[in-house]
Assembly symmetry: D2
């Protein structure tokens, strides 16, 4: 049920659907399972959604049918894979008393189940299994009069992460949860307000970045005017931006939470080099997310940087796995080492995180087979010990190697010569921030929003 | 929004999904736009639905995934064509407070709009535009405790036509509206209760026909037991079976409303021959629906029957129409005459009905070009003057040629030498029935259920 | 390797590809496995081909790309099914010394294997396994100078059946083998010469039928002029038109070999009624091919005609067959009886032929189960005893029930009360023809062209 | 007509088709337009080919049908795009006198047209337009007795580039042209001989690299034995390995021509830094091909390396281009700069080559917009002045900016602050090689094989 997602919206632009297509294309890294665009011409919302990458879901034909001036789009990644229901593809488009409504949602709610039960109690009907459908019901069920009041009423009930785009036939609304878990940026393209999960979407369409949608802020675009308001009570919530966006998820050419991902990620590498120095001949990244911290590590340590592992970028969802009996091709489908570089060398390998440890072990074995004399693993984040309930896909606690084993034990398991994790303090220092601004629950278990016991239990069974 | 549909259900059979596939295949004539099957293994309802014929929607793979012992299926025909939303494909499957629910619905409600508005008023959210979704909401919204009570509560609110199959993880329920507009049959296959719109579905799977589900009856199958109850108040409703099912819609090898379609249809022809005799050399049908009444006409009149028009059965939805400038290929894509038969002959042509009159005119012109000396049109039903609001696709009143023109005028318009329509009395006589048993509103405007003014207005605009 | 096929060609028409599409559509009954169209604009031949029905192979897009004024098309049926190679789809388009060449071929050659070996001996390379590819090689390999001389050179080497359309960037040529096995008609549409396997293709596009291409004739269209010549030596060949085209294969609304298929087929029924009269209550056809002879039988005998078996026309190649363990659904997928008609009646069933006998037995059993008191089988052709080597798909001799069993034995096997086959003389009488005009080899084993022993052997193994 | 290609072959392995799938997957960078695999079980060659990436052409189903122990595969890139004919997809599979034959070919012949004309003169028929089809015809047409003699006979006639895999039902043969233009490697997997364009294919399947197939060598695998022979006369040909494989085309983790691509490519950067030093703050690559030389430049110059341009790897063939009127999204679909890195900095940008100069100009403008103070372009190869006739896709001479303009003029055109190209000597030094071993015709116009005037002319028109 955990979901990564990318969202994009544009208001009053003659090429609304095409720009949304480009925006989703730039945000493809945030979700590769399905894509969808909903567009309104002021009278009627039409949409097209399907499983697949943006470039395979949308063809010239299907895009041309999406006529209108205001649009929202959504990329989705879900852990449940191909067996997932088409009813979960977003944007969700419904009709209700006052017309049509489309929403695109990035994030996870911790009280979705509870809200869903309450809604079902009152007679609500659900098609899919996403948290996002709950939000739609809450809006529609609200007894408030005006749409904006209904929306506020609904959002007030939510606990957890949401960066949200809501479209009616007249309005485009962007909202971010009071904790600010997931990013949401605001920009402008030839006078048209635009919204996106990350600024890389603005860069592609040539839009100007204005500012982030603030935690707890609701930005309303209507009649060509942009207005902003605060979700009542949101001021009491502790700012809790997801630091994992910097570590792994966001594109390095994006700015999120007001900072350059590239710069933060490189600083991770620099501080890591100071915290866990080692005598070595080469620094190499596990591409792609390890590249920037590896550059930081190299620059700080003075150890030369090399692309000792080459990544094949053609891997797709449809890759046919080998039969059991065949030789394990493991990580080799994605990564291949350069023996000429590694032979007889002491290597520092930089990766963004260790989850179960098995992939790290395969990489280290592969490097040794390619001739590396020593392999020192450095991780550009602290040990991941706690599951995320706010939108990052993590396994259950007992599958997270760092929740049960010490760094020394992990080092032994992955067969590294040494292992160093960036410290929590170092990580926060790199963002020029503090615990006050970020959610670091996956490292320290301090969840900014209470996670109901049943959600914890449920996540264990998945 | 008018819909023809075919529905099929089977309870507790190891090949539930495959038998439903066969059932839908036999009922393909009732709907060619989309098909779907929902199946339960007692714990979870899964489903597969798509646009297209049964044989193109279901492949071995997709069918194999539908594991379970109880299943319902639905074929749909909609007048809105390919632009129709995937959200309208049935069975509708939802989850709500007490679990999952699937329904397959054939028929049209006259108070769907009103009910929908009331539901929306109370916060209901709709995905598609079908009447059927309203039924689901009414069931879920009912404050009754038990499922069956909820269903009765919901059905009590409906005005109009519904033959309905409802499936939960434990139950299979068949229900028919108190007027009995659309057919619904009950049978048995190796101990498994089965339901279908027409008996031809039973014939294909080798099931035994037991009886029709009665108007206003609700048949419940649960824990291997079949029980029956009446919808309260249903006894006050006038039986109003759709006589058009006999005229055109049902397959001739089916029994519906307790009678053989073939026999009724042939009797139409016999009576027509008595009511509108003519001196002629040949009786020919407009295939396929004209074949059986033409046989009746021929047998009664003694005029030889010939297949003077040959039908190409490969016509599909995807046929590429010619450019405007090209010669009109009109009805020729479907029908081609046999000049050797027709040359110099006086022909009686039998068709089931005349809607706008333009197709009849094309056919008559084609017959004359092929050499017919005289063309006498005979229609195996009375003049269609009023639109149907209960599930048969008819155009608006002003498009129905018989609502504005006399039989003489129509005869002139279609360029026939003579024209005769079966009388209302003759038609009823053929069914061995009376006005007490059938809805004849399309001929006499006497709608068995009040049709709200707005529905009448709306249907004019479509 | 046996193939039914339909071919169509049109010269110098602005809608050449679309008319070819329509022509193939009208000829769909001659081949449902694959379809293709090749078109020339005078400079370059382009083509599109794929597996499937005409209406699924060609979409607006693919048809629009086929720009040009002269086109040929081909429908193919092959017994080898879906495992067949895409290299066998026609028209075959190749480039050689003098440019491009496209051919569409209907028929089977008995010396294809021999010719192929000789060509391979000389270095020819084959892509597929069709006889048709041999013809292309023979044309290209000819040492004659002019294209027409090359073609004559090639055709002179062929033994067996070919109705052929050949297109270069300048010419459209139609040719028919000296025996005239397969039909080929010539017509005219607004001044454009057109060719088709059957006249039903002309009817659909509104073309005027002129005459048949004669056995041994080569019709050349070039520079807007139509000229005709005879294949040297063709006058020595005995005319051997395929009588099975009348019995089963051609559409009843076509004229082939100068006669109306409908009329010939009805005459089969009439004569059959005289040859094998029986006291009975009803005559019913096995639809669709039995319909017209059943009408003849009924008219001659005075026994009423009824459509006692209803055919489901939605059967496609992709129908999912039941698992072994399930009840046999046999012919029921295609045919369903009308019990009300049959109950207690003595039935004459008319079918076009009996191959293995198993289908006939299933039909007869089905009729008895539906209540028939007596079932008398009448076949509108003589017993099929010999395989066809000229383009009709027949099983090997030992699978043809009539080659090993007497009529009495067959009657017993199929469980009929009586069985009567149309006599050879009666059949020829119905065509107003003689053995001099038709190939009747499948009935009497007198092959008009010597069939090499190895071909006979090979056909046994298929 | 220019083609990049990747080829792979494996002999006598139970998972032949799957390993070929993996091999093609690893070689995907050499051709993304189409993919195909042919496999033999010793008796019959079957194949599957289609347009698209390896992972979209082959699904579990299609791969499972390719049963056999020996297989060859082919990836193709062609400049003619989607309009290309399916007849050009490889492997080419034909049948001829002695059975079946499959070939997979990488490279371009300069005398293909001449040979084709001669073959057509003798009656050969061509389906597609590739050079590779000529080779098949030459083999089949040879009057030699044994297959190997035929192959030698055919290869002796070829002028130009070919790395070739030929498969019969008994043999797998690998051959490389006497000049050795394109790479071809030989390896071993659990006793099965394997061949691939690059060693990265061996790495993925876990095969051991043995050696390159030598220029002019023919390696024959039959009856489990590997034998080698030389093409007669091949010793007179000057070794002419394509140096562009090192510059751009091969994967950095491959070894080709006996050297590590990564190491050669980095050495290009090092020497470039010595030849064209500049005072700057950052070295950034144009990814992906500029990454390794940029590392070399950075290491040699001491100027820090940064990933100042981020590449979006989701770009596919199906990307929908914007309408003309919209803002040019140009290279932004692939590349996005990191303004935080570039602002106020003097940048050295490393790219592998400049073709028309327009892309370079867009990149430089993009970098300046992102804040770069100075942009110094460095190219890891000499100016590309001459078209390639041996398999690398280059535009015509007049489109190659370096063939008409001086380095100063190009620098001005691309709006760089300075521009430096690696010298020819420097390039050869980096390969530890000499002009004696490489083809450098694209830089100096010295074609190792005479290019017929008509080929030069023809290439101008494309």
């Amino acid at each position: 049920m955990k979901e990564y997602c990318g969202i994009f919206g544009i208001y009053d632009n003659p090429n609304a659907a095409y720009y949304t297509y480009l925006g989703l294309y730039a945000l493809q890294h945030r979700g590769q399972e399905s894509a969808g665009i909903a567009v309104t011409d002021g009278k009627r919302i039409t949409y097209y959604r399907d499983f697949g990458l943006v470039s395979s879901v949308f063809k010239s034909d299907s895009l041309k049918k999406l006529t209108g001036h205001t649009a929202i789009g959504h990329n989705r990644y879900s852990t449940s894979g191909a067996s997932d229901s088409p009813d979960n593809i977003q944007p969700i488009v419904v009709s209700y008393k006052y017309g049509q409504l489309a929403i695109a949602h990035n994030g996870n709610l911790v009280n979705a189940l509870e809200l869903r039960e309450k809604l079902e109690e009152e007679g609500s009907i659900f098609r899919g299994t996403t948290d996002s459908e709950v939000i739609v019901h809450l809006i529609v069920k609200s007894r408030k009069k005006k749409f904006l009041e209904k929306l506020i009423d609904a959002l007030s009930k939510l606990k957890g992460a949401y960066s949200l785009l809501v479209m009616t036939n007249k309005k485009l609304i962007a909202a971010r949860d009071p904790w600010g878990f997931r990013p949401l940026c605001m920009g402008e393209l030839n006078g048209s307000p635009v919204f996106a999960s990350e600024t890389c979407a603005f860069d592609l369409i040539g839009a100007r970045y204005i500012r982030d949608v603030e935690p707890g802020e609701i930005v309303v675009v209507e009649n060509g005017k942009v207005s902003s308001l605060r979700l009542p009570g949101s001021e009491k919530c502790k700012k809790s931006q997801c630091i994992f966006e910097f570590i792994y998820f966001a594109r390095p050419d994006s700015r999120i939470f007001g900072k350059s991902v590239y710069e933060v990620r490189k600083e991770f590498g620099r501080i890591l080099a100071r915290e866990y120095p080692v005598e070595a001949d080469l620094v190499i990244p596990v591409p792609d997310s390890g590249v920037v911290p590896a550059l930081g590590y190299s620059q700080e340590s003075g150890i030369p940087f090399e692309m000792g592992l080459i990544r094949n970028h053609y891997v797709g969802r449809t890759f046919i796995k080998p039969e059991q009996k065949m030789r394990d091709i493991g990580v080799k489908v994605k990564l291949n080492p350069i023996p000429e570089l590694l032979k007889g060398k002491r290597i520092v390998v930089i990766d963004d995180s260790i989850v179960r440890g098995t992939t790290s072990r395969k990489i280290i074995r592969m490097l040794r087979e390619a001739g590396a004399k020593e392999v020192h693993m450095r991780i550009s984040s602290p040990p991941t010990k706690w599951p995320c309930y706010f939108g990052i896909d993590t396994p259950t606690r007992d599958q997270l190697i760092a929740s049960s084993y010490s760094v020394e034990e992990i080092c032994k398991f992955i067969e590294a010569d040494s292992l160093g994790y960036l410290s929590l303090e170092g990580m926060l220092e790199a963002t020029c921030g503090s615990r006050e601004e970020f959610c670091t629950a996956c490292f320290d278990g301090k969840y900014p929003v209470d996670v109901p016991e049943r959600i914890v239990e449920q996540s264990k069974k998945k």
